[in-house]
């Protein structure tokens, strides 16, 4: 082997040795990183393996990147030799050329000299490459840190983020969690139902039940039950768990929360508790028909029957007879309580009841009317539900008023506005005359004309009923007039009764009614003529005549319509009618309080602030929306409102900052479809 070849071998050997050293240094660094990762992982739920592997892989990838960027070859060794051995005269790289390749003489000579100098020089030391030192230092530091992590007790370490659910470890305290929840209830005693236990936490219970939640929780110092309205009931500790007891009278959304010793709270999910209210009895009349007219010489006996039912059980049953006597506004009513007989019991909660009503025992006279209504109660406690049936109208024909008998037979709710308008015209006229007498009014003419205009409007409203041609109508040609004549109006009761949209209630007026109406209209016409020419005094008799004619019609129709469950107050006729004053009209100018009339304002406000950064104002709106959403969730079991509530809670407590999209979707889904807006067309 020539000197040149020996020198080349020396360079290759050095390069090889340095590569091994560098590899060893990076391997040490990887081991150090793995050790450090494992020692940190031991303190976390992740365990030692994954962090250790992550540390090792990271260092290996780093080292590989460094090795690929700075390779170590024989040239590296030659360059290093040139730097550290001046005797080589910067010619060590010449040694890397192939000796068999012909080269100039000068190069050959210099290569020989370099080979000789290299062989004569002391062995090349370690390669001063920063990579190796860096890896070495990193490895040592990692090992030292791992040792520190392992040796130092956990309590003295910097606190790492607290996981939501601590890892179960036999040597650590158990995490704060809600365990099992058992829900049972005892219905109110009057229902006679046994206690029951829910198979699901979304339960349905009768109104007034005593509901008990039994909760088990680990590591809890207290447990409470929170409902959607924000009411909180602390659970009391019982053997092996916690107990909450509550009487429920309306549906609610609830969840259980466990409170740790350090104040942390672990909550369960939201659940619905649907409360089924005890509904009032329902009464359906079987006989007789709703309106019965009896001639005086007929037997004054009526049998009334009804079926009464309740969702649980019935209590007291009865019949109320209201005896009406008198004419016009002088009618007086008297109530009498009657008992009923139970004919049959078709089912547990229903009865067929009847009563033979002897009208003579009520003291009826010709022209009187009797209104019958069943009443029923259930057994609800503390206050029973009460129901009242529709009214049965019994009329006894008045043998005296035979002339208007044809108008009787139908008890209808008279449209009060029309008749009161005529009365009001009289009141206005009399008031005007009185003020004129007291010389409070200098010129009666303008006000008389105004009253005349009222009389005009009123007459216009009645005119078409008896076929009068409408005034002020633009002439639409002779043909149109001819059509009008042909279409001579067929006078119906529709025009001055309140039909409640029931065609069967509409009845043709008789000729007598038409004649009376025409008489009234003639009087109105006279009154209007005098009023509009500024003569209220002579108009007054005509106004009265018109009112009398209208009253004549009305007297044959006694108005008595009583709503179920509503007893109207007695009418003080002397106080209300014909008093000439309007002192009880209430304020003539009112301003309503400006309130938020938007549909679901809480939900809308929350949608508006969802994208804003967290703040007290935003959280307040979101909490309000949560309360409203909880109410909706109770009523609408089909919706996904519970999921929205969970997301909303996560957004509020910061555990789910990315939930705003889900909350927005849920809030919009909870909004009802709004009515079309009244707005200018685009």
């Amino acid at each position: 082997m020539s000197r040149v070849e020996a020198a080349q071998a020396l360079l290759h050997t050095s390069a090889s040795r340095w590569r091994r050293q560098r590899l060893a240094a990076w391997a040490g660094a990887a081991i150090g990183a793995a050790t450090l990762g494992a020692s940190i992982g031991l303190r976390t739920p992740a365990g030692p393996i994954v962090p250790g592997l992550i540390g090792a892989v990271m260092v290996v990838l780093w080292g590989r990147h460094r090795l690929a960027r700075v390779p170590i070859t024989a040239r590296t060794a030659a360059e290093h030799a040139d730097r550290v051995l001046p005797t080589l005269e910067e010619s060590a790289t010449l040694l890397l050329t192939d000796p068999a390749v012909p080269t100039p003489l000068l190069v050959r000579l210099q290569r020989e000299r370099a080979a000789e100098a290299l062989l004569a020089a002391p062995p090349l030391g370690g390669l001063p490459q920063p990579n190796i030192r860096l890896a070495g230092v990193f490895g040592l530091a990692a090992l030292a840190l791992a040792a520190l992590v392992t040796v130092v007790p956990e309590g003295t370490m910097a606190k790492t983020p607290t996981p939501i659910v601590p890892a179960a470890s036999p040597d650590e305290s158990p995490p704060l969690t809600i365990g099992t929840i058992t829900l049972d209830w005892t219905p109110p005693a009057y229902l006679g139902q046994p206690a029951d236990t829910a198979t699901r936490l979304d339960a349905t219970v009768p109104e007034g039940s005593v509901v008990r939640w039994k909760v088990t929780a680990t590591a809890a110092s207290a447990v409470r039950m929170v409902d959607a309205r924000g009411d909180t009931i602390a659970a009391r500790a019982v053997d092996g768990g916690w107990l909450v007891e509550r009487v429920v009278d309306q549906s609610l959304l609830w969840r259980a929360e466990a409170i740790g010793a350090d104040g942390t709270v672990a909550g369960g999910g939201d659940h619905r508790l649907i409360v089924v209210p005890d509904r009032p009895p329902v009464i359906a009349i079987l006989a007789p028909a709703q309106r019965v007219t009896l001639d005086w010489d007929e037997p004054h006996v009526v049998v009334v029957r009804a079926v009464v039912s309740d969702d649980h059980a019935l209590g007291a049953l009865g019949l109320v007879a209201t005896h009406g006597r008198g004419r016009g506004e002088g009618v007086r009513f008297r109530d009498t309580q009657l008992g009923v007989e139970v004919e049959a019991r078709p089912s547990v909660g229903s009865r067929i009841v009847s009563r033979r009503v002897d009208l003579d025992s009520l003291g009826v006279a010709p022209g009187d009317e009797v209104f019958l209504a069943f009443t029923a109660q259930d057994l609800r406690e503390p206050a029973a539900n009460t129901a009242r049936s529709e009214t049965i109208f019994l009329a006894l024909r008045d043998t005296v008023l035979m002339s208007s008998a044809a108008l009787a037979g139908v008890a209808l709710q008279v449209e009060p506005a029309y008749f009161r308008s005529q009365r009001q015209i009289i009141l206005d006229t009399e008031e005007l005359l009185r003020e004129a007498r007291l010389e409070r009014v200098r010129d009666v003419r303008p006000r008389a004309i105004e009253i005349g205009m009222d009389q005009h409007l009123l007459r216009l409203r009645y005119g078409p009923l008896v076929g009068e041609e409408t005034e002020g109508l633009e002439a639409a040609g002779d043909d149109d007039h001819a059509d009008h004549d042909e279409e001579q109006r067929e006078v119906t009761m529709d025009d001055f009764i309140h039909r409640h949209d029931m065609e069967e209630n509409a009845t043709l007026l008789s000729d007598e009614v038409k004649a009376t109406l025409k008489r009234a209209l003639a009087s109105m016409w006279e009154a209007e003529k005098l009023l509009r020419t500024g003569r209220p005094q002579p108009a007054l008799p005509h106004e009265y005549a018109a009112l009398a004619a209208l009253e004549e019609i009305r007297l044959t129709e006694r108005a008595y319509v009583q709503r179920i469950g509503f007893t109207p107050p007695a009418v003080d006729v002397e106080r209300v009618r014909l008093s000439r004053t309007a002192r009880d009209l209430g304020p003539l100018g009112t301003s309503r309080d400006v309130t938020d009339h938007r549909i679901e304002p809480a939900l809308r406000d929350a949608i508006d602030v969802l994208d804003e950064p967290a703040s007290a104002a935003r959280d307040s709106r979101l909490e309000a929306a949560g309360r409203r959403l909880a109410t909706i969730a109770i009523e609408d079991a089909a919706g996904s409102h519970l999921e929205t509530l969970g997301a909303l809670r996560g957004l509020l407590d910061g555990s789910c900052p990315d939930c705003s999209a889900a909350v927005r979707r849920g809030l919009v889904a909870a909004l009802p479809v709004p009515p079309p807006p009244i707005a200018p067309r685009p």
């Binding site: 506005a417 009209l585 919009v668 009244i678 707005a679």
Partner: protein, 530 residues
């Protein structure tokens, strides 16, 4: 290398002037010759050098510059072959005067047409319409902002009805078959604040119900009800409702005045004059009609009595028929534009225009009967229809076509209806630009948007602002392709020729006089030199 005639002629002109300067004796003549040449060269329309061709081909989705160049390269009457799905519909006018050949390629599949309103009010019923191509039946899915999914299977047109529930900038997601979903964005706002006055000649149920309905949507309402000959009750709903709604100032601010049955007769002559003037200046007036009446300043409808007593009508409101029949006054409204009709087509409410305002009247006095009968939505639609036909028009507003394609680098025109004075700002991201009108007339103007970045952009004027969502480059690509396809089919079928004439193109000046001038000048110069 191509050289444009303007450049060539300009060079010739400059050389001629230099030559004339060198040959001083003929400088003035040569300058006289060169100057027109120079002007002619500058006036010459740009086109590619070389001889005009009789045929050319346009690539698919060619840009405007390409279309212009190809059109210029083809002689009038020449043939241009359009490939693919064609070019932007607006560019077809550039090809006027040329024969267009287009072989219908494969019909585009997926979503090929789409139209939806870009702005709406809470509660408004909107239609999202579109069409799918390709001939096969495909599923179209629409997902609302609430996450609710609606779908339809169709091989042609489809339509979805949506009702926004809350104000804000909302996205609906539309997907056809397995294709990429498209985002349909709508700027939803609360109804505008209205100021309304209602005059009732006697207490009734319908008008307070209307007042409460208006109050529920945020309006300020004054309800005056006559109780006796001398006593009126005034109720104010909502904030800042006017105390005296018939005062001059109040009338100027009112959006709507409602006169109940018989209320007009209670107004004095001066009140009627002022109301009439206010209507001519834009106020909306709604008169409820209980019986036939003569025409008047405030009731410009010819009314004809019909039948005896009230009749029951089945109304058709906003295209939907009510199940319940309700009483209506026995008159016919002979004039005006029908707003609502009954099932037989007879007007239940009509409107006429008076100056800048509108007057409407109706035969139906108790629309609350619908609510009593279990159809509250009909009553709501009733008042919305009457209000929409009558209310004072807004001062100005933006209007953008439902079918506009709003995406990156896609120009779109937006119309402004109203006064065009004052600046128009465009807010796009963080930048704010001032826009100029590209067209304007007495009714408004148009601006041209060329979105530079995707996302929301806002057009702002003092009276109104418009927020529009701009999609990325590939947004609604199928619709864009379908639009080009339809325009190409129309053009190939010759429909373009029957359309309005193309914009006049500049006519080049003839070349030969300038050539003769040049030759003559050169000859004179050469002779003088000898």
């Amino acid at each position: 290398m191509t050289i444009s005639p303007p450049l060539a002629w300009t060079l010739v002109g400059i050389l001629a002037i230099l030559f004339a300067w060198w040959e001083r004796g003929t400088a003035h003549r040569l300058a006289a010759a060169a100057l027109p040449l120079l002007l002619a060269a500058m006036a010459w329309p740009p086109h590619r050098s070389g001889r005009a061709a009789s045929t050319a081909t346009l690539p698919d989705s060619a840009s405007r510059a390409t279309v212009e160049a190809v059109a210029a390269s083809v002689i009038p009457g020449g043939t241009i072959t359009v490939t693919g799905d064609g070019i932007h519909p607006d560019y077809w006018e550039l090809l006027a005067g040329r024969r267009v050949l287009w072989s219908d390629p494969e019909r585009p599949a997926g979503l090929v047409a789409l139209a939806w309103p870009r702005r709406a009010l809470v509660g408004q019923t909107l239609a999202i319409r579109g069409a799918v191509g390709g001939g096969d039946s495909q599923s179209v899915h629409l997902v609302s902002p609430a996450g609710q999914r609606d779908s339809v299977r169709t091989d042609s047109a489809f339509s979805f009805v949506v009702i926004p529930r809350a104000s804000g900038l909302w996205h609906w997601i539309l997907a056809v078959g397995g294709g990429l979903p498209d985002t349909l964005s709508i700027d939803v706002r609360e109804p505008p604040h209205l100021v309304v006055a209602i005059i009732a000649a006697q207490p009734d149920f319908a008008l307070p119900a209307l007042a409460r309905r208006l109050e529920a949507q945020g309006a300020s309402v004054t309800l005056r009800t006559r109780l006796t000959a001398t006593q009126w009750r005034t109720e104010r709903f909502g904030p800042d409702a006017p105390d005296d709604p018939l005062g001059d100032d109040a009338l100027a601010t009112l959006d709507l005045l409602v006169l109940g049955d018989g209320a007009e007769q209670l107004l004095g002559a001066s009140d009627r004059r002022r109301v009439r003037t206010a209507v001519e200046e834009g106020l909306g007036l709604l008169q409820l009609l209980g019986s036939a009446r003569a025409t008047s300043d405030l009731m410009p409808f010819r009314l004809r009595a019909a039948g005896a007593g009230e009749e029951r009508v089945a109304a058709v409101v906003s295209g939907q028929s009510a199940r319940t029949t309700i009483p209506a006054s026995p008159v016919r409204i002979d004039d005006g534009t029908e707003v609502v009709t009954d099932s037989g087509g007879v007007a239940l409410a009509s409107v006429v225009t008076l100056g800048r305002g509108r007057i409407a009247t109706t035969r139906v006095l108790a629309p609350s009967r619908w609510t009593l009968a279990g159809e509250p939505e009909v009553e709501a639609r009733w008042w919305a229809a009457l209000g929409g036909a009558t209310l004072r028009a807004p001062v100005g507003r933006w209007a953008v076509s439902d079918s506009a394609l709003l995406r990156l680098d896609e120009p779109v025109r937006v119309r402004w209806v109203g006064d065009t004075t004052g600046p128009t700002l465009l807010r796009e991201g963080t930048t704010i630009d001032t826009l100029a009108w590209v067209a304007a007339d007495s009714l408004g103007g148009e601006v041209r948007l060329w979105p530079r970045e995707p996302g929301w952009l806002t057009l702002v004027r003092e009276a109104d602002s418009l927020r529009l969502w701009v999609g990325g480059v590939g947004a609604i690509a199928g619709v864009e392709r379908g639009r080009r396809h339809r325009a190409a089919a129309a053009a190939a079928a010759g429909e373009l020729a029957s359309g309005p004439p193309a914009a006049p193109r500049p006519v080049p000046l003839p070349r030969w006089p300038f050539g003769l001038l040049l030759l003559g000048s050169a000859a004179v110069a050469w002779r003088r030199r000898e």
